[in-house]
């Protein structure tokens, strides 16, 4: 599954599963949304108290466990960390602030486009702009430094936490919150969601599927490898939505979306830029975390806290549009993330075997 056919196949599978999950009960155009689902899980744990978005999403659990099992099988499980973890936490936080301004992670952006939601076009434009800015930072030497090997036990904690979340979901103790209305109440059966997540996680690990990497590599290296996964998701979800009757072309009345074009653009600008600096989209962060990258686990925690803040302080947009607090948080996020991009620049490259080189 390493080649271009492999990643297109995985993309097609993700698109098909996303459509199927909607048919099984997930919110429309939200078969899989990493940020929305982390937000729902944050709510279920009581980290925010927005009653309409609380549910422990088994898709996330499945993605992490599927990626973990696949990385063990393929010899890709390498426990490592130490590449600016707190910076990554902050980036993860603001990627979610931006994504919840738009109302979706890069994956849901593709699914919204495939559902005929034209407001997502502004998200795609912002996302692309964010990636272009990120590429400019990379070209001038942006780096968060390298990772180092860590004790094996560190790598098993993230999958272990997923198992705990699954137990909490199935057992449903009183301190876990489950929405009785709104998007959080709409979900496929646990087993269906978990299974879909396992397949997506395993496939994404094997193929290195990444939403932000597609446009980034196309711009940086004229490499169309990752974008073929992105396009496959779009095409299969588009066909799937047409077949299942969930395709509605237009701007207004789109499910879990708003029509404020400027803030759709700026939200995804923030999410795209932050994701490039992190080295991968929210989906990829979960997969990397499952492969043993402790920095990506910290990033996912930053995303969890970002989601909790977004709903505690009214930063997240809703169908009614963006909030004043959300606009302010998005602007702060753009400033912080741009500062991270500007300040973490490396001039001299480290070399093997004593050669000293100076980067251009």
């Amino acid at each position: 599954m390493g080649g271009k056919k492999g990643i297109a196949l995985v993309g097609a599978l993700v698109g098909a599963l996303a459509v199927a999950l909607v048919a099984f009960g997930n919110p429309v155009n939200m078969g899989i949304c990493i940020v929305c689902f982390i937000r729902d899980t944050a709510g279920a744990l009581g980290l925010h108290r927005a009653p309409v978005v609380q549910y422990i999403r088994p898709e996330i659990i499945g993605i992490a466990l599927g990626a973990w099992l696949m990385s063990l099988r393929g010899g890709d499980f390498r426990v490592r960390g130490g590449s600016a973890p707190f910076t990554r936490f902050i980036l993860g936080f603001f990627v979610v602030v931006g994504a919840l301004m738009f109302l979706g992670c890069p994956l849901r952006m593709v699914l919204r486009l495939a559902g005929g939601d034209l407001t997502a076009v502004f998200g795609l434009l912002g996302f692309t702009a964010g990636i272009l800015v990120g590429v400019a930072f990379l070209n001038r030497g942006f780096t968060l430094g390298r990772t180092y090997s860590l004790p094996k036990g560190e790598g098993y904690l993230f999958p272990a936490v997923q198992v705990v979340l699954l137990i909490l979901l199935v057992a449903g103790p009183a301190f876990i919150f489950f929405s009785s209305e709104g998007p959080g109440s709409l979900h496929a059966p646990i087993l269906v969601s978990l299974l879909a997540g396992l397949i997506v996680g395993a496939g994404a690990q094997r193929s290195r599927l990444c939403m932000v990497g597609g446009i980034r590599d196309l711009v940086l290296f004229k490499d169309s490898h990752l974008i073929s996964g992105f396009l496959a998701i779009f095409l299969v979800a588009l066909v799937g939505n047409l077949v299942t009757g969930n395709f509605r072309l237009g701007f207004s009345g789109q499910p879990v979306a708003h029509t404020d074009w400027l803030w759709n653009f700026l939200g995804m600008l923030l999410a795209g830029l932050g994701s490039v600096l992190l080295g991968g989209c929210p989906l990829r962060q979960i997969v990397l975390g499952a492969e043993g990258n402790a920095d990506s686990v910290i990033t996912v925690l930053g995303m969890l806290v970002g989601a909790a803040f977004a709903h505690n302080f009214g930063l997240a947009a809703s169908g009614a549009g963006a909030t004043a607090n959300g606009k302010l948080a998005t602007i702060i996020g753009l400033i912080v993330v741009a500062a991270v991009g500007l300040l973490n620049t490396e001039r001299a490259e480290v070399s093997v075997k004593g050669e000293v080189q100076v980067g251009s």
Partner: protein, 70 residues
């Protein structure tokens, strides 16, 4: 003649490929790149081959050394 060397171990995407790109711009005859995982190995190999180079891969413990030549 020893090839120019790049240590890209532990670097996040797409830094190993960017470091390879910069090194090849400075040394068009070839470079050797050390990476720490299979994702970077495949990314660097794909980049080198797209630019018309050959990439020979050697396992060095947990890491991979790519010898990129014309």
């Amino acid at each position: 003649m020893a090839l120019r060397s790049v240590d890209a171990r532990g670097r996040a995407c797409p830094e190993p490929v960017l470091l390879t790109k910069k090194a090849l711009a400075a040394s068009p005859e070839g470079v050797q790149v050390l990476v720490g995982n299979s994702t970077s190995r495949e990314n660097v190999r794909r980049f080198a081959e797209a630019r018309g180079y050959k990439a020979e891969i050697r396992e060095e413990g947990e890491d991979f050394l790519l010898i990129i030549t014309r």
